[in-house]
Amino acid sequence: MMHSRLQIIPAKLPNYMTTVRVLIRHPMETGFRFDINGSAVTKNVIHTLTAHFEGKQVFKATLGSGISADPFLEFQVRTPQSGELVLQWQDDAGQRGEAKVRVLLAN
C-alpha cells in the first residue's frame, strides 16, 4: 500500500481554515509510457482524493495523468471546531489509501 506524507497547519481564528499538505507515493502512471518491448504501460493514476471533516465532505479532487508522480496537493478546509480530518484516495487499479488526523483548534 502506498505511503503518504500528511502535514496540516491547523486553523487560526478568525477564519477557521486549516491548510492540508499531502504527498502520496504513487507513480501516477500516465498510460503514455512504453516498456522495453514497446507495450504501453497501463494507466494507473490516483483519480479521486476526498477530505472529510467530522464525517462531512469538505473537498474533492479529481486527478488525471497531468498530475506529477508522487502527487502533491495543498488546499484549505474549514474547521470551525476541533475534529477528525480524513483523507481518502483511490487509484485506477482499485487501490485505496486513507490518512486521518485530529485537528486541534488553536485558540
Binding site: 477564519n15 481554515m17 500516465t30 469538505v58 474533492k60 488525471g64 484549505q76 474549514r78
Partner: protein
Amino acid sequence: MNLRRRLLWALGLGWGATPALFAQHVPQEQLLQPYVGVNAVQKGRVKLEIARLADNGFNVPLKVSVASPMTAQDHVRRLLLLSDRNPRPLIAAFEFGPSADQVLISTRVRLGGSQTVYALAQTSDSMWWLDTAEVEVTESACLDQT
C-alpha cells in the same frame, strides 16, 4: 474519445488519417466548451501562478487561487486545471463546499510541451472565471516542434 480526437474528427482527420507528428494546441474555445458549454467566460477572480519556463514538464509547480467571499450565497463551486496540449486536457478538477473559506491550491503537474495552462473556476452563481499562463517547456531542441 478524448477532445483532441474529437477535434481531429471534426476536421475530417479522424480515422485513416496519419496522426500529427506532435500534439497540437487546442484553441481556447474548444478546450473550454465541454465544461462551460455556451456560457460566457470572464477573466478575473482566478489567479494562476506557474513559472514561465519548465525544465522538462514532468514536475511543474503550480499555484492557483480564487478570490471569493465563500459564503453560502457566493462561493466557488468548482475549479478546473486544463492543458491546451497534454494528451488529456483535464489536469485536475476540485470541488469545494460552501463551508470553505478560501480557495488556494498548490500542486505539481505534468505538461506535455510548451503550452497554455488554464485555471477555470465556477462560482455558485454559475459564472465562469478564467486565468491562463503560458509555459515554455524546454525539451530537446532537435525534437520539439514548437
